[in-house]
Amino acid sequence: MFSRLVRWARVKSPWFVHFNSGACNACDIEVLAALTPRFDVERFGLLLRGSPRHGDVLVCTGPVTRQVKDRLIRIYEQMPDPKFVVAVGSCACSGGTFRGCYNVLGGVDAVIPVTAYIPGCPARPDAIIDGVVKLLGKIQTSKAG
């Protein structure tokens, strides 16, 4: 009955949690730059939260190393439903240059289900905004409930 209202609320205020799963930090810096007034991804209602309990979206950078795998799964499980995952950077998409290394499991989707992929090394803030818009489009068409 209220699904349109609920979907509108979710699309207009996706609060996100940022997690670095073994990245070199370049994609993290670009995510941070996307939040600044120059690129201003916050105009879509995005808000960076410190706790996974407050997050709808998990923005994940970096290839998943063996050491971080358990922590990433825990953070993902602590987020409330409905939750979405965005993989930022080519390392998060597929492992990037580190695919096949002795300590790397591959992209984020080797560990948790991913909703949107943003390639790039590092992904430009413009690409991050594009990926966020595509994610919001996916939330718009998803089932509310």
């Binding site: 009955m1 209220f2 209202l5 609920v6 706790s51 996974p52 309990r53 358990d70 922590r71 990433l72 825990r74 953070i75 499980e77 602590q78 409330p80 439903d81 409905p82 509310a144 409930g145």
Partner: protein, 112 residues
């Protein structure tokens, strides 16, 4: 229904209870399907799997400070409302006991 009867505490309480209950029910309908997992039910959000004892804050200083506050402020209240006559003596005896409590609590406090 006349106005003043709605402000009587029992009635106001019941009305507010109904309003809040209606809000909760509405938000339950709006919210997502309940999907409780063990990770979601834990009180502390962290990537590490920590035992409960290590993530509890240190309350060993909280209660000495709180009780010291209470003792000193009650002593101030007693001093401020000292009666005339023999009652004053009882009050002074009470105050002496309170000072023992103060000294004991000050001993519980850590400086580091």
């Amino acid at each position: 229904m006349s106005g003043p009867i709605l402000l009587v505490p029992p009635v106001a309480f019941c009305i507010i209870l109904l309003v809040v209950g209606a809000k909760f029910a509405f938000l339950r309908v709006l919210g997502p399907r309940a999907n409780p997992t063990p990770a979601k039910l834990k009180p502390y959000a962290c990537g590490e799997d920590m035992a409960w004892g290590t993530m509890q804050p240190d309350y060993s200083q909280f209660f000495p400070v709180a009780v010291l506050f209470t003792v000193l402020h009650v002593s101030v209240l007693v001093v401020a409302t000292l009666p005339h006559g023999p009652g004053a003596l009882l009050a002074l005896v009470y105050l002496v006991f309170m000072q023992f409590a103060t000294v004991a609590l000050l001993g519980e406090l850590k400086t580091v």
